[in-house]
Symmetry: C2
């Protein structure tokens, strides 16, 4: 129930990767046969990854991670366009990699507007239009939120940005390979995708950079990836990523249908628990995301209870689950800190079975009940 | 003959990685059993990688690549220490990832001194001492050069930097796991190592950061790696890296002895070719590196000739072999551009056999001869 944090590698992906560890291990920059073999695998993979976002091959570079992509976009467009302006707009529910890059830029003299969202986590287009200034250079709104699963109105946001001549970046780490991602329809200039969220290996991702977009590299060096991302190319992982994309291309729709049924059943049944609440939008949400808050309990204790029964789940986002701060996403949709602390994210995946869902629905209500019995808040927060 | 560009993954390394792709795939930040399992593997790997450089476990973070490490060190120390000063010294034969990061910093208002080297590629300690100014914050000199294999006097450089209160960074991508690397003896504050140079996977490396060193992250986000390097931790690759280190720990010495014999034989025999010259130091060089220039021929044509005979070799460094510019390293040691263009790097590895060396010594002189016969420069460069 924690597929949004990361996924296992599909065995077919590992099979595709193996030869690139042992035999076809060349450096894609080398001039000899091993180098050419690596280069060819790289370019074939680029074509595959680009095709599932309707992008041209030359507009996609590979990354070491999704986080790297967001850092590159925020810092790279800021530094490359600072003569035009120093104002950047980010939604207040962006992933930490966007928000922390934005905060770093603030310390370098850039101005950041953190755009509020409604109770479902949706960015308000009017608020965005009002936030845009003459010197705005970039708007960053994720495609689908990693915690509450809300899918943002990216097409309209992109359209507005384009009218105003502002770059639009969307972090599609949670959506790519799960729901349709189309850089043309979405009107994005920059879009990041991640391999380990769709049964590919950790440590690789890709960034769409629309032709003509002014951006500086984050990693300087030997000039790999059209001079935009230096580093010996991680061919094995990239081949694995492409294999994962190829599989999702075929299985995405049927998989999404399956997940949606699981999700809707989880939501319907879990909301029967007293004082339980759905977070995120009832329909505009990822097919595999069900997110709740339960009054009077601590999410961390709930995770521990579920873990004791062999169920993996998350409270807050995986990337900050060690932190004691309440989730910035949940605060942004209007939850009080004590409400946010009682949150639970259940995210299913392609290996989830009906039996798994049944089991969660058997264990979870008992766990909530037990925790409430021993809760110091039992009977209210006063 | 191109092990310096990259190496195959040792089958034992791949075996160690496999479970972390398929079963033990957790996110190291997750609170449940899968997360704890990942976290434990991460910390065990950190201990292994740290131990082969005589560092404390808490002083080592994992990277997405060596290039990322150099970018982080150059930019991260520059931004964190700019109140102290804006002057950085780098050797003129550093890897592109250091030099290009330095050039980017120059564009941000930092002052860079490019330290000359002697004809062997050795940094002159007097020149370094003279280059140091009141506002110098960092000195970057690699442990062993990736092209010509020269091993720098890092202990003395580190000692001098420490006396002056300046951070010392050394890129040990080519030396770690091949010759002893000891952060205490070397007097370094920052040291980068890379997995794919020692039979580990591409896409991971590590950075030693001495306790108390002021440095900013390059990748901002969820706060992984002690808050210094955000990004979902690539546990499988890190486990593979640690396995590679464990193997090198045992096999490094015997392996270095074998390589040294191959190297010395290659050098002795190849210098018998008319108008051939050794680049780099005769003895202060990596055990697996033999580097030459041949008058009147193009290195690229030589690579092609060797490739036709199934021999992988390199001219210039692997990372820039697509470039038409002569190698900055060879120019720095005093070669003329046309001399640098006739260069050849042969680097052996643990799977190199005596038969391989024999074969190269059979093919190479013929290839040089053939190219000279058709060379427009035949008989001289005038």
């Amino acid at each position: 129930m924690d597929y949004a944090a990361t996924t296992p590698v599909d065995p077919r992906v590992l099979e595709a990767m193996k030869p690139y560890f042992l035999k076809k291990y060349g450096n894609s920059m080398s001039l000899h046969a091993w180098g050419r073999e690596a280069k060819e695998a790289l370019e074939n993979s680029r074509e595959t990854v680009a095709s599932l976002m309707n992008a041209d091959q030359e507009e996609v570079i590979f990354l070491g991670s999704g986080t790297e992509g967001s850092n590159m976009v925020l810092k790279g467009t800021a530094f490359a366009n600072r003569k035009k302006g120093k104002h950047i707009i980010v939604s207040s529910i962006e992933h930490h990699c966007v928000l922390e890059s934005a905060r770093w830029l603030e310390r370098q003299g850039f101005e950041i507007t953190y755009l509020p969202v409604d109770k479902y986590g949706l960015v308000d287009l009017n608020a965005l239009e009002n936030a845009i200034k003459k010197d705005t250079i970039l708007v960053s709104v994720m495609h689908a939120n990693n915690e509450i699963g809300t899918i943002e109105p990216v097409e309209e946001i992109g359209k507005l940005c384009r009218e105003k001549g502002i770059y639009f970046y969307s972090d599609a780490a949670q959506s790519y390979g799960k729901i349709p991602v189309d850089v043309e329809k979405m009107n994005v200039d920059l879009l990041m995708v991640d391999a380990h969220k769709i049964y590919g290996p950790k440590g690789t991702g890709a960034l769409f950079i629309r032709k003509g977009t002014k951006i500086e590299p984050l990693l300087h060096g030997g000039g790999h990836e059209f001079g935009l991302r230096s580093s010996t190319v991680n061919v094995a992982s990239i081949v694995g990523f492409a294999k994962a994309v190829e599989i999702q291309k075929k299985e995405m729709n049927s998989d999404a249908n399956k997940q949606t049924k699981f999700r809707d059943r989880l939501i319907k049944e879990i909301l029967k628990i007293e004082d339980s609440h759905l977070n995120g939008h009832p329909t505009k949400r990822l097919p595999n995301n069900a997110h709740f808050w339960f009054a009077y309990i601590e999410g961390e204790s709930l995770i521990t209870q579920l873990d004791m029964h062999g169920i993996a789940a998350s409270t807050g986002s995986a990337c900050s689950s060690e932190s004691l701060e309440p989730s910035h996403v949940l605060l942004a949709i209007g939850l009080k800190p004590q409400e946010a602390h009682g949150s639970l994210r259940l995210t299913t995946g392609k290996y989830t079975t009906k039996k798994d869902v049944d089991y969660v629905l058997e264990i979870l209500p008992k766990a909530v009940k037990r925790l409430r019995e021993i809760s110091p808040f039992k009977g209210g927060w006063e």
